[in-house]
Amino acid sequence: MSPRARSAPPTASTPTASTSALAVRDRADDRRVLLFTAGVLLTAFAIGSTLQTIFIYRPERIATSELIAEAPQLPDRLMTNLVTVAIALLLAAFVRLEERRPVAAAGAVLAIALPVALARHGLQLLLGIYVAPELDVSLVEVFSVAAVIVVALGLALAQVRTRVRLREHERAEAEHRLRASTALAELAAEEIRVRREVADGLHGTLQGRLVLSQAAIDAIQRRGVEEGWSEAALEQLAGVRRDLERMREHDVRELSNLLYPVGVDVSLDHAIRALVRRVPAEIDITAEVAPEADLALDRGDDAVAQRIAVVRGVEEGITNALRHGAATTIRVAVGVSGGDVGGAGGGETRVRATVEDDGIGLPDSPRWNGLARTSERLGLRGGRVELAPSVLGGARLEVEVGAAPSR
């Protein structure tokens, strides 16, 4: 039988449109950080230096009357400094300082700092804060302010660079995680495809050939009877035929089921019913599968893999109830919990299957190898398995897997 066509899982590539939109947002974000940091530093300095100039550098004029006399200069000085800050920030934004490489950025910082410092001093002269100052006073004013601007812009740039590095690191991590999970999903899809192909091969090809072999043996048996072969020879043939029949009806079926449980390509409900039907008639077993459970799993990209996980868990519970628990009554129930049970949406929906039995109960030290395997398998899918005492008197196995949130 030919393999089932399956659509490829989504790849990790990001569309170009959203990449450029992201870059625009990143640049705007970087600029905001640069201007904010530099703005805070420079404004703090502007206010601080204004107050310092008046109140700290001239202790000899600390008398209240002198302070009051000095006060009219305060707004001018403050305004000069704030205008300086504004010009520096405007220039930084204009030259897109945060986008420049380190050397170019250093050059740009100097190119901003000196003219701005000069402009500030010019403004001071214009407003009469300084009247014909000596050259060294002017030089100190200009260079100290230039230094302050260099330091403030430098710190702001460092802050931007740190954020960029952090962001790139986070993005790389996220992409790595996405790639890993995509690879894992592709691997799981491939595994399911191969499983199904082999199971189909077992059912279609191998069972078909076994049927033909049985028919051939029937023909030989008939000839043997007509030609009067010995009883022993005929019995031997009949034995071979029985073996073939057992292989076809039992072994091949079991093997195929191990690979790909019957019905998982249709629904969880069907797969669980198919599983329960295989349990011997002497066992009182019923299964209830809530339609919501199938709906929840159908929303995901890997519904078949999720169904297999749940079916395997339920199978484990039934097998153990029969093998270790000597149960005669088994109740299987599959439903959903959490999230949008009531249709309210939000939160994670989980599909939960329970297998309760009336057997001998929990072993003193649970040594179910299958349970460990089931637990491991479910763990990989974010699910879990739990063994507890059952109200029926035996054991209760609970299996849970996460389902995609409702859309």
């Binding site: 039988m1 189909d200 049927v211 029949e245 039992h250 249709v266 069907h270 198919a274 008639a281």
Partner: protein, 224 residues
Amino acid sequence: MSAEPAIRVILVEDQALFRSLLSDLVRAEPGFELVAAAGGIAEARALAANAEADVMLLDIELPDGNGFELGRELRRARPGLGVVLLSSHDVMELLLALPDGERAGWSYLSKVSSTSRETLLRALRVSARGASMLDPELLGRLRPRRGSALAGLTPRQLHALRLLAEGLSNAAIARDMGISSHSVDNLLNAVYSTLGVRDDGDLNSRVAAALHLVRDGAPGGAGA
């Protein structure tokens, strides 16, 4: 021969040899007409859109999907279309997934049981007239599950239910069991009552009773 119109059949089977054998079988049979034969879901969809048919013979395991789902889909457009499912697995429980109103007209045959030409043609006839027939050999292997309503039937009632599930009419059941039609009515009424099936005297209650056999019957398995 009656002058009834021929039963028009659409065949969907992916294995080429099996498909051509089945095609020949249907074509050669008086009273049947093969209107289309497809190897997959997509092809079947396209063919079914342009072909008037009474019944579909549908393989369940198809390369591009599940035949059962295709059957449901096509029946939604044409509720009168009969469906005979064929499978190499014993997946009769698929029929349990059908809602009450959709159950009539579905039959199920196993590819690996000793399904004969007569059985296949009978299934096509039964489904074409809206009744159901389940694989006699698979039914023969079913044993009532302990604790189920099915386990409450007497051996005679169970036998009558098996014959009903095989698509036999009450008259045919009476012939097979060597009893009167009236006795069959009584027997089946007792079956319905034990299984909790409401007897509407229509096909749905017969199908519902037959499906109890599928749900609560455990396949014995010849070699197990």
